[in-house]
């Protein structure tokens, strides 16, 4: 494709994407969340409230001009802690996916292209990993090692690759029978070339859709983990922990639990809408 054609193509894609209101909402939510997380120390009203600060005169304040999201049971600004909590959630999703997606993709490529024993071994491995609920796996690892963000991320990543393996595998099975792959084989192209230069590019859009949807779900699992007290440890702000801490003050001080919970919902929703939008754009039906 010439550069001009590529440019026009990406412009067309952007045009089609921008006509889809829910997809644009998703993109906006994702971009705003990422920016807020990156700039947290500069945009939050009380950046020092992320630590173990206690201000009893200001505890349980309802939302006001000074504290948009109210304050918690030791008087810390909840908006500040929610924005810093986003950092933890997004970091979790980022690290899990940056490990799981390439790993799962390569395994899926190998299983789908080579078949035979490679396929049997890899696909049975995915069956095993699929039988383990990621939340329980993360809990078990958190128990055996120490509960920390790093361990949680490793535990979730160690199971998450399976979804990408299964996705890429089923696509490669269809793609490898296409004539252009056969042509490349006849020309004597190397296996690496066929796998990564001929087949992989045709899977990229499906992987992108899946990754965006995944980001939302990984964030949910991470939040559940910290809700149970096995995620990142206090006083670092974490959305799941905030919901759990605030829960004992429901329904009177509703903002302490409800607003952080809504923040989780919001980010996960953003990634989901974005994923759905990309799916419509790339027209990859069967990616969930």
């Amino acid at each position: 494709m010439s550069e001009l054609a590529a440019l026009s193509n990406s412009y067309q894609n952007w045009y089609r994407f921008s006509r889809n209101p829910t997809a644009v909402i998703g993109l906006v939510i994702v971009v705003v969340s990422i920016l807020a997380a990156l700039l947290a120390p500069h945009i939050t009203p009380y950046p020092d409230h992320i630590g173990a600060i206690v201000d009893f005169r200001n505890r349980h304040q309802p939302p006001s001009a000074a504290h948009w999201f109210g304050t918690d049971n030791v008087g810390r600004d909840i908006l500040t802690r929610v924005i810093f909590g986003l950092r933890v959630s997004l970091m979790l999703a980022f690290v899990v996916l940056i490990i799981a997606v390439p790993f799962g993709t390569v395994l899926g490529l190998l299983a789908g292209y080579f078949g035979g024993w490679t396929e049997i071994v890899i696909m049975r491995l995915t069956d095993i990993a699929l039988a383990l609920p990621p939340l329980i796996m993360a809990l078990a690892v958190a128990a055996v090692l120490e509960p920390s963000l790093m361990n949680a991320m490793l535990a979730i990543a160690s199971l998450w690759w399976t979804w990408h393996t299964r996705l890429v595998y089923s696509m490669v099975r269809q793609i490898r029978a296409l004539e252009y792959v056969e042509a490349a084989e006849t020309l004597g192209a190397s296996k690496t070339h066929i796998l990564f230069r001929e087949i992989l590019p045709n899977c990229v859009s499906a992987i992108a859709v899946k990754t965006s949807l995944d980001a939302g779900f990984v964030i949910l699992i991470g939040a559940s983990l910290s809700f149970l007290g096995l995620g990142i440890q206090p006083p670092t702000p974490d959305l799941g922990t905030m919901v759990s801490d605030g829960a004992s003050f429901l329904p009177d001080y509703w903002w302490e639990s409800l607003l952080p919970g809504t923040a989780i919902l919001f980010v996960a929703l953003g990634f989901n809408l974005l994923g759905d939008g990309l799916r419509d754009l790339f027209d990859v039906e069967d990616v969930r």
């Binding site: 939040a223 559940s224 149970l228």
Partner: protein
């Protein structure tokens, strides 16, 4: 005959998955932590105490022998002793599992009962308001953290409206022994104690609803997609041309094949359902396996953790086996081909 062969193949795969699972769990619980005995006893235990427990648990044996003992026990359905309570993990799980099973079964029933009709309605009125409503619900339900739904339901129905109980399986002080199946509703029916059945259902409603919303949305979404898919088939067009009434066409010819994807997805959803049960049980003080598992995890009770994870995995594998058989029954084409499409 073909069906038996299909069943045998599926059984063999399931067994293989379980063996793999046992290796993974063994590695997590025995190899990763270094010294499980030291972990169980805590940092203040003396060296003699640690050695004693190591010998008692066979931790001084080479790893492959330890794994042999572990899998030998598993084969006999023995999960070892809890390091803390000294009770058999089997017993603990046997007393707590029925509560979780009852919760998960109620969840699945609710998810199907509402999810599938919602999906059918969305497909029937595609692109008009019922469809948009169902799709919006499905997305929000999917991204709403389970613990958040559970908390909201608990506060709303339990404290604000005060219409439903928010903790436990029965009112405190109820004298009832669920010693037949362990499922309160089933045992209550078998013993003819209808007030127990009624109370058990009231207690079950909120936790099951909280756990089911995400799956319900997923079911609606998949049913919708697959109904639309089937509606484009030639034989549906033919039925329409022959003047088969809408309702008959929809429910008799379209729903049956369209039912396969939601069923298969349900199987995969089970992993997240079991995970979700961990959170829901904690919030609603549900005395199930998940609540037991959380306790085991916070107290670093390795045998109990292994037991809980293994039983969760076993549960997942069995459910998926069952679903494959069901799918074979619903759709004979799959039975003949011998594997999932």
């Amino acid at each position: 005959m073909e069906f038996l062969g299909f069943l045998a193949r599926r059984l063999a795969w399931s067994l293989l998955v379980l063996v793999g699972l046992s290796v993974v769990i063994f590695v997590i619980a025995r190899v990763v932590p270094g010294d499980p005995a030291r972990m169980a006893l805590g940092p203040r235990a003396s060296a003699e105490q640690v050695t004693e427990l190591q010998e008692k648990l066979g931790l001084n044996l080479p790893l492959y022998q330890q794994y042999g003992r572990f899998i030998g026990g598993l084969a006999q359905g023995e999960l070892g002793q809890s390091l803390l309570t000294e009770r058999s993990v089997n017993l603990d799980i046997r007393t707590t599992f029925p509560a979780t099973l009852e919760l998960v079964m109620a969840t699945v029933i609710i998810a199907f009962l509402f999810g599938v009709p919602l999906g059918v309605a969305a497909a029937r009125w595609k692109d008009s308001w019922p469809d948009n409503l169902v799709r919006a619900f499905a997305i929000v339900a999917a991204v709403m953290p389970t613990f958040f739904i559970a908390l909201l339901l608990q506060v709303l129905a339990g404290y604000v409206l005060q219409i439903l109980p928010t903790t436990g399986r029965l009112p405190t002080g109820t004298e009832f022994e669920a010693d037949i199946t362990g499922l309160l509703i089933v045992d209550g029916l078998l013993k003819g104690q209808l007030h127990v059945v009624f109370e058990a259902m009231r207690h079950l409603l909120l936790p099951a609803l909280a756990l089911s919303l995400a799956t319900m949305g997923q079911m609606a979404r998949i049913t919708r997609a697959s109904m639309i898919d089937v509606s484009r088939q030639d034989y549906i067009e033919a039925a329409r041309a022959f003047g088969v009434p809408d309702r008959v066409r929809l429910f008799k010819y379209q729903l049956r094949p369209a039912f396969v994807p939601p069923l298969t997805i349900m199987g995969l959803e089970f992993a997240s359902l079991i995970g979700g049960a961990f959170v829901v049980e904690l919030i609603f003080s549900w005395p199930g396996m998940a609540a037991y598992g959380i306790r085991a995890i916070t107290q670093k009770d390795l045998n109990a953790i292994m037991g809980v994870v293994m039983v969760s995995g076993l549960f997942f594998v069995l459910v998926n086996l069952l679903i494959d058989v069901l799918v074979g029954l619903v759709d004979p084409r799959i039975r003949i081909r011998g594997r999932r499409a």
